[in-house]
Assembly symmetry: C2
Homo-oligomer: 331 residues x 2
């Protein structure tokens, strides 16, 4: 009963000190009492990334519990660190903005989600800031050490194979299921697929295992160098980013688009696969022997096309230009 | 003419790619094309801090130009790094949330202010994220390397002298002048003081020089260890934080409170000095020989009291308990 009352308390009644005290259990020991957090990563290069989630743009009450929001704030960042070859996740800082009438259990839920993700993937809450505002906003900065692999969007070369670490479109399906999009109910989707899709949207996995497999399967004769990004803004967007940064062209195989086998073969599903976004898979451009090794060592990977000389354009293997239908616009 | 039109463009008409392209000139080379930024700080410990500025809470149209907002977003962070003994500022990430009807020149102004601060104090823009939202929000994370000095709030010891790097209350006076508080006009303040006060509020200086002086003047026989925080939330708040973290008591000298000499001697001004906030001075608890050395080597410093055994309380030297009047509440 006491807990229930505490959960529904409006944070405007609490004040910063009470909030900070209640959140202490989630924080790294010894960081509470200082203005900054100290990180020891001697002899390692550091990579850093910031991602912002805004209520009613990136999440809302219907599609995301506070735990989901905290989880996603962390894992979206870790996905970006994975694209840059992260070795160890050192930790995150948490910037939180909430209206004064926000209930305490929303904040606690966000920190639970953050902590669940850090417990699973590594790192600690190193500090942060909170403030009142009109709208809920979670701004997370993650830092990690860089491993041996030099992953840059600009490293793609003609002759490379484009390989993705997994299937695409499930997150978008999950979102539409949560929003009760009538299109999703016009198909006879089995419950297991629906569950997987909702989980893909609410609790995405950063591609850290895929990165480790990619590193461990590298043929000895090749340098630790490849082009990569993640598909958080959509599969085609990711490939286009690699092409622009590397100044080359991509040829995709229509029959190899990485759509989940359980989904109906229909134009709409293909679009969601190509442009749905928030899939958080690695898209990597690799020399053929390395691509082959990764495809062999990780069953979820799929070769989807190749890199050629030419303008930064995407074409199907029959020569037609791929028309983009951007579904992700933040402005 | 062309520039004028560009400045007043609403960002909702631009899209993320155009915004990112226009901001390229402010970014560190090579970070644009990757998902994360790489930092090389081999053999150094890293310190990290996040601060959020929310429109109509921390800044507004009347008190702060976009350049001021960008400058403050950086310098508030650097002030926190200074309290932890920063050596080199490595850089920042910038999280920006703005309504779709925001004009381009507001965003450009913020980045100009950010860049001015980084040019003066060191570091680069390492990356970030931007999104649409109901309200303007600037979330900055700064990282730097740690120097030789171990500064922690919990390092204060009975017998220490409390020393501040400079005067307090000017920032609050500047704020009230900008807000046309009638109280400020009831005194005959000279123009030079008004200008200094407004500058203190709009373009605060992080106490990096004060930190360097503190390090260079340390008596050889003492370890590189002291208690410190900054007075961004007010002078008394800073001293209370040190007392709580170090579990000791502070005795302050009323006649030594660090108020600017140009200000009238009146109760209200004293309150602004003690609780005004946003002064960004170092408050340091030091063994007497070190305190003396710092006071000698830096004219702006002032000894304001001492640390004693006892409960984490603040008292005047006549024994009366100091009553807090918090002026800074973010919830």
């Amino acid at each position: 009963m006491h807990n229930k009352n505490k959960s529904s308390e409006r944070i405007s009644k609490l004040g910063e000190e009470v909030i900070l005290n209640r959140l202490k259990k989630y924080m790294d020991d010894g960081q509470i009492d200082d203005d900054t957090a100290l990180i020891t990563a001697l002899n390692k290069e550091i990579i850093i990334n910031t991602d912002i989630l805004v209520e009613n743009i990136h999440f809302n009450k219907i599609t995301s519990s506070p735990q989901n929001t905290g989880w996603k704030g962390v894992t979206a960042n870790l996905s970006d660190l994975a694209c840059s070859g992260v070795e160890d996740i050192l930790g995150i800082t948490v910037g939180l903005v909430v209206p004064g009438n926000t209930q305490w259990n929303w904040i606690e839920g966000v920190y639970e989600g953050i902590n669940n993700a850090l417990n699973q993937f590594g790192g600690k809450i190193l500090g942060g800031d909170c403030s009142k505002g009109k709208q809920k906003i979670l701004s997370i900065t993650a830092i990690g050490t860089k491993g041996p692999l030099n992953l840059h969007r600009s490293n793609a070369k003609p002759g490379d194979i484009l390989v993705t670490s997994g299937v695409h479109g499930l997150s978008k399906l999950g979102l539409e299921l949560l929003l009760s999009d009538p299109f999703t109910t016009s198909f006879d989707l089995c419950e297991a697929v629906k569950e997987r899709a909702i989980k893909a949207h609410q609790e995405p996995q950063p591609p850290l295992k895929a990165l480790n497999k990619l590193i461990s399967c590298k043929p000895k004769e090749l340098p630790f160098k490849a082009a990569a990004t993640d598909s958080s803004d959509g599969l085609l967007e990711a490939i286009e980013c690699i092409c622009k940064s590397s100044n080359c062209s991509a040829i995709l195989e229509k029959k190899h688009i990485p759509i989940d086998k359980a989904l109906p073969k229909e134009k709409h599903w293909t679009e969601w696969c190509l442009e749905g976004g928030e899939d958080f898979e690695l898209i990597v451009s690799l020399p053929p022997p390395w691509a082959e090794a990764w495809l062999k060592s990780m069953p979820s990977t799929k070769a989807i096309g190749k890199i050629e000389k030419g303008l930064p354009q995407l074409r199907w293997s029959n020569g037609t230009k791929i028309q983009r239908k951007p579904t992700f616009k933040h402005f």
